[in-house]
């Protein structure tokens, strides 16, 4: 096999989607990923050209791809309420086919977003959002507030490439032109980079942020109850003065806000604070999104159905309701009778539901809950091309470096869709007389 070097490859190891990676391969696997962080390097090395998986498995036994596709189509067509669930590792092109499939089989479609930053979307719908791209952060932001996140470990290049260190148009001296504050429940590795660190008491983010909103608006707050958050009112006032004095302030928040108790309230309070600060200066709030292409999944669902996650198409039109049409809730109540999981490892979550799994790494046979149908595909970004979205919603083209013997997700979904479309429609057809 021949070695090759691909420049400007995009990494999908985390939500940063860095597109300056120089990938070296020996034809079978990635040998080096220059510029990539440890997460990115692992991501590239973990996905060889040939994963060694059979093309497909049915009930745990290797089977021809065509048979697996036919059975998958049959399962989804026969189910009363199938779920299409996206782990967020596929390209936008594949996700678009997944939406078409959900519509054609009359199912519910949801993504891993519902288990991480779903509350951030609910918050956006509650209060609104002021946002920007990471390019603007790099070129303009002189004040960074990280709240409930630890980029040093979850998004290693976030500070070096986009936020804290790079020299930008209006921040020519890089780090020296910026101030960084970290608020978290413990002093993480990120605290080393911060100018100031505040330890907040666990589970009091909503109270602290709401108190800050009140203070920005010149309202009074109860000092004793503020103290329960770990902040004093004076500390909050000083922090707010720094935020107001910034030319362009950015608040990055992570799962410390979104995936803790009252996540949508926590993020809503962060969005409200950013909004209120715009009475004094430019201020935005951005979520630190996770792996792969989860952002793309939300984007595709938004432009096709109007909603970001937790969408039911069982009545032929999209209906959105987190808690009702989200994966964890559907499984907890036992509402669905078939599932298609896009992305690796359907694993134990779907143990009680007949499941189709599509992804580069299939649930191993040793695990107790092997899905009924398993179809191996090429790994997104390594051996499958397409588009992914960065955490600031920007689409990034992929530059695959290897050639996989397996088809890409999009091709498999298209074939399942074509099979389903050969079958009679599930919705009640109107008679000629009714149409007349």
């Amino acid at each position: 096999m021949s070695s090759a070097v691909v420049k400007h490859a995009t990494c999908t190891g985390c939500g940063c989607a860095c597109d300056d990676i120089e990938v070296h391969t020996d034809g079978a696997r990635v040998t080096r990923a220059v510029n990539a962080c440890t997460l990115g390097e692992t991501w590239f090395r973990d996905h060889p050209a040939d994963s060694g998986e059979p093309a497909a498995r049915i009930d745990g036994k290797p089977a021809p791809l065509a048979d697996a596709i036919a059975l998958a189509a049959e399962m989804l067509h026969a189910a009363d309420l199938p779920l299409i669930y996206d782990h967020g590792y596929s390209t936008c092109e594949a996700q678009r086919e997944a939406v078409a499939l959900a519509e054609t089989v009359g199912g519910v479609i949801d993504s891993y977003t519902s288990r991480c930053h779903g509350p951030s979307f609910v918050a956006t719908q509650l209060v609104g959002k002021v946002s920007c791209t990471l390019g603007e952060v790099k070129n303009r932001a002189d004040f960074l507030l990280y709240w409930g996140c630890n980029p040093a470990e979850t998004h290693p290049r976030h500070t070096s490439r986009y936020a804290l260190h790079p020299a930008g148009k209006f921040t020519p001296r890089g780090r020296r032109d910026r101030t960084m504050v970290l608020v978290d429940v413990e002093e993480t590795a990120t605290a080393k980079e911060a100018d100031q660190f505040f330890r907040i008491r666990e589970g009091t983010d909503f109270e602290a942020l709401s108190a800050m909103v009140a203070l920005v608006k010149g309202q009074a707050v109860d000092e004793r109850r503020v103290a329960e958050t770990g902040f004093t009112v004076e500390q909050l006032r000083l922090l707010l003065e720094r935020m107001k004095a910034a030319r362009f302030g950015v608040m990055f928040f992570g799962l410390g806000l979104a995936a803790t108790r009252g996540g949508h309230g926590n993020v809503g309070a962060a969005y409200r604070l950013a909004m209120e600060l715009n009475a004094f200066t430019k201020f935005v709030a951005l979520p630190m999104r996770q792996h792969g292409n989860l952002v793309g999944s939300d984007m595709v669902l938004r432009w096709t159905t109007g909603y970001p996650f937790g969408v039911s198409l069982s009545r032929g039109y999209p209906r959105y309701n987190p808690g009702e049409f989200t994966m964890a809730d559907l499984l907890a109540r036992g509402d669905i009778d078939a599932a298609l999981v896009l992305g690796s490892n359907a694993a134990t979550d779907f143990a009680n539901v007949p499941t189709i799994e599509i992804g580069p790494k299939l649930t191993p046979m040793q695990s107790g809950a092997v899905p009924r149908v398993q179809i191996a595909t090429a790994a997104t970004g390594v051996s499958a091309g397409g588009t992914v979205c960065r955490m600031d919603d920007l689409p990034m083209p992929l530059r695959p470096t290897l050639t996989s013997p397996h088809p890409i997700d999009e091709a498999v979904l298209k074939r399942i869709l074509a099979e389903v479309r050969k079958k009679p429609a599930w919705y009640p057809m109107r008679s000629e007389a009714q149409i007349a």
Binding site: S210, E223, G265, R315, G323, E324
Partner: protein, 270 residues
Amino acid sequence: MLTLTLKSSLTVPLEAECLSPDVLAPLAHVAVRALPVMLGKRQHRLDDHFTVEGDGSDEIELRGDLSKVKWIGRLMTHGRVAITGNAGMHVGAYMKGGTIEVTGNVTDWLGGEMSGGTIHVRGNAGQQLGSAYRGSASGMSGGTIIVGGSAGIEIGMRMKRGLIAVGGPVRDFAGLQMKGGTIVLMSGAELRTGAWMQRGTIISLKPLKLMPTFATAALYNPSFIGLYAKHLARFGFALPTANGGYRRHLGDSSVPGKGEILVWQPTGIA
């Protein structure tokens, strides 16, 4: 009187918005049996899932474990629906009038965006009762919801008018972004009660952990409490009017709002 009994338990939820007096009352027995319901994506007949006794009527009785039957009493304007057993999501959503009684438990979105009528649940309720649906500006704008047991998060979210009374404890964010109306919490609430409320009243008989954005005001016995006490006595809820007072807290100052939280304080307790 029309009686419908669920034939067998369900796996996939059944969406049955036809279970409302407005739809059922004018129909004969045969027409009731033929009404469409949706089991997941499949359209079925009502009698595929229910045993139907009697003709269409303003008085409807539903029997069985209906915890997977959604949208009972949707948009109803009159009549009475009595559910003997549990009921699923969205009971009485967008309801305008009439009465719904449930002997068991219900799940989420009870009385979502209702504007009139009465819902009385003897068991527990789920999340977002009387709330606004996601993306909607206002929650319930009238009517009464009485829950004997506990309730989940975000009860009365964005509610504009009407009364919610819950006998058991409720979880976080009761009255989130509330714009008006009254919530009565007989056994208190967990966290963040009245968060971002603009107007409206929350009455709690148990001490609450309040947000820092609420200011504490007078201890008094508002005259309107007597009216609520009289109204709620019919449902077996005793709202005290003597031997103590209600501590008034104002907020939420981050909105800034003119809402009030009244917390009962018996005499002798500072």
